[in-house]
């Protein structure tokens, strides 16, 4: 990661790094395999990793499953996009105008801990049960990580940098957009990465609890009500969700390293 870590280990070569990643994944799979094969957990309910993987591969060839996945993907993408578009400006506002923050905090903090399970029927009553239902719940959950990371990111901006721009006669808005925002952007990006995971969880969870029609969650729900439950299907579905999460995260990290190169190179994380 960084040349200036606690141990000052020189960065390893990409080949080594990839093999470590692979080793980590294999170890994790082996652990599941072991738990299942040794009967530590009943294989009927936690099938071995090889079986899950096998099932995952065949699922991919199943057009019905692909349709489920696509529906979930859509809800996830729309929800995350809206959350980011709302949360960043809101975070900038709350983070830079303390009065607004103070005034709205009681409302925000009151609304925040309301769980989506409680909201599911209420949201359904207000806006209906289609795609908009899932999207609304996803937005509601994915908003917070971005909002908070924006607010806390702003606090980390070097005051001397802000003053520099101010001294050239730039107003508060210009300082916000030209100094505070770029300076806290890497941390906001971390918030977006967090939100991407939260959004994925919420999409699938909402589908499991109250989905209709299509979606990975619906697929998982139906696998669960079979007798006996098709655990391999459920976990294969979970596998694809998890893998999608890994892929999205990797993309975002790559984006982050490209766009915020200054941030990483400065810290000796060459590349």
């Amino acid at each position: 990661m960084s040349a200036q870590t606690l141990t000052s280990i020189r960065p390893a070569s990409p080949a080594i790094r990839w093999s470590r990643r692979a080793a980590g994944a294999v170890a994790f799979a082996a652990l599941i395999e072991l738990i299942s094969r040794t009967g530590l957990a009943d294989p009927e309910f936690l099938p071995p990793a090889t079986e899950i993987a096998g099932r995952a591969v065949t699922l991919l060839a199943d057009p019905a499953f692909r349709a489920h996945a696509l529906t979930s993907l859509l809800a996830w993408a729309i929800g995350l996009a809206i959350a980011a578009l709302v949360a960043v400006p809101l975070g900038l506002l709350l983070g830079s105008v303390p009065l607004v923050d103070a005034a709205t905090r009681s409302v925000v903090e009151f609304l925040r801990p309301i769980p989506s399970v409680a909201l599911i029927p209420l949201v359904a009553l207000v806006i209906g049960t289609g795609l908009q239902h899932r999207v609304a719940l996803v937005v509601y959950a994915a908003l917070w990580p971005i909002l908070y990371n924006t607010m806390y990111g702003l606090r980390g901006v070097d005051p001397v940098a802000k003053e520099s721009l101010r001294s050239y006669g730039f107003g508060p808005l210009a300082v916000l957009m030209r100094v505070s925002l770029p300076s806290s952007a890497p941390f906001i990006m971390t918030g977006v990465r967090l939100a991407a995971g939260v959004a994925l969880i919420l999409t699938v969870s909402t589908e499991i609890v109250a989905g209709r029609g299509e979606g990975i969650g619906v697929f998982i729900f139906f696998a669960g009500i079979a007798v006996p439950a098709r655990m391999a299907d459920i976990l294969a579905g979970v596998f694809w969700v998890g893998l999608f999460g890994v892929a999205v995260n990797a993309l975002m990290v790559a984006f982050d390293r490209r766009v915020f190169r200054w941030h990483h190179v400065q810290r000796g994380e060459e590349g």
Binding site: R166, S167, Y168, G169, V179, S183, V265, Q266
Partner: protein, 256 residues
Amino acid sequence: MLEIDNLSHVYGGGTPNAHHAIEGLNLSVAEGELLCIVGPSGCGKSTLLRSIAGLITPTGGQVKVEGNVVKQTPDNLAVVFQDYSRSLFPWMSVADNVALPLRRRNMDKKQREDAAREALESVGLEGAARKYPFQLSGGMQQRVAIARALAYRPSLMLMDEPFGSVDAQTREDLEDLVLKVRGHHQMTIVLITHDIDESVYVGDRVVVLSKAPAHVVGDLKVDLPGPRDQITTREHPDFVHLRAEVGRLVRGHATV
């Protein structure tokens, strides 16, 4: 141009660790003047500068720039911060750092780029335009900060130990650069320095501040003949005399 009237500043007022940085400071700077400020470390020079720039609200007295009491940052002002490395934006190339304030001027992109390039050249950094601040040495970063202020063509320029991190040769070049720019563009400049020779060499006037809380203990007009020159001016007997005078004031032996 600049009127400082009975200025006081207390940090952490009301707390047990209140610190009186400035107390009852009076000072006025004429249009086009280059005023040097010297004074012991920690006396309150940077605090004074921040008050002029409207970055802090003094706890007493007032600062007037062009007749207006400073509440916000006055227009057409540039500051070279003592903490120059933190005042550069790490996400921008050096050229962009210099060009950024020019957005306040009526300039298109091309003009901004040209002005930035020119300013960087004038501080000897023509090769560094596309680099990022962290890729520069300390002295180079300091010169970027100077270039940024110069490119902006402010009517009032505040410089807080602007040449502290550069070598002797570059320092002299930069001193002459400031003198030249001042002559060309009718800037008023307030320059803080620890180098007594420098204060006499570049200043039209040298103000000496006391230990904290800062107030003015000496105010010398520098009346050296002709255009200044690194060799001849520094050899001039008036220069030597003034230098000694400032030195005595700084060391606490007021002459008058």
